[in-house]
Symmetry: C2
Subunit: 147 residues, 2 copies
């Protein structure tokens, strides 16, 4: 019970699949008033990413906009199947190796044998949605203390 | 531009539609290590709600589990149509009347004329998903300063 309790410190980000990144950034900036604080392209994951947060919400939960680099990527396929919307919920952990080991020890399906590289050099892995009530749950260990 | 910037302070919660509340609470407690800090039944919205957060993440973004009181409710219909998963993303605002007025002034569709009562006596309203990139966005003005 509670194996992950020592590791999970909060919700790092909510990942939203968007067909058009510039339009999505404009919506979250001009309508919701969020601020863009990081952008990157992850070629290996086939995705362009933008991290946005409410002004002053330092260290708080971010919106992570995810735009596909092509139709044959994770986000491209998600958009084709489900349309735009929330694609993942990411929890911040202090130790991703210990956390994923604890999940495996419970018999849950962790998607990658080894954790991959996520936004801003973080280390990430995923719990299979079938083992998580239909939600794609990401675990993320930041490379640097969260801003 | 940025009309909501003075009002939005962060992501209040991520709302997840679940078919079985007890099972969902057990998952988020026993697997992710979150703590249950509030539960209520909202008869008028036809939903049972549970708020959960990482230990020590006071004031941070919560998981809001949403279980339908029957099939003919918002969450009941969502589950029938989409299956379990993220149903809404809720942003905390300091003044929901000013925030919804600002959205209407931009020509965006706010779902209710008057804000309704959400979790823990908060005041809530919603932006139509068609005006928000497929995401159901809730605005929530807490009744008391968030714990
Ligand atoms: Co992510
Ligand atoms: Co809500």
């Amino acid at each position: 019970m509670d194996e992950l309790k020592p590791f999970v410190t909060g919700i790092d980000h909510v990942g939203i699949a968007v067909p058009d990144m510039d339009e999505a950034i404009a919506f979250y900036r001009d309508v919701l008033g969020l601020e863009l604080y990081h952008e990157e392209t992850n070629e290996s994951q086939g995705v362009r990413e933008a991290m946005m947060r409410a002004p002053g919400d330092t260290g708080g939960t971010a919106v992570q906009l995810l735009a596909p680099l092509g139709p044959d990527t994770t986000i491209g396929k998600f958009l084709a199947r489900r349309g735009p919307g929330v694609q993942q919920v990411a929890y911040r952990v202090t130790d991703i190796d210990a956390a994923t080991d604890a999940l495996r020890a419970k018999g849950l399906r962790v998607m990658f044998e080894e954790s991959g590289i996520g936004t801003a050099e973080s280390r990430v892995n995923f719990l299979h949605p079938k083992d998580a009530g239909g939600v794609l749950i990401e675990l993320v260990e930041p490379a640097v203390p969260p801003r």
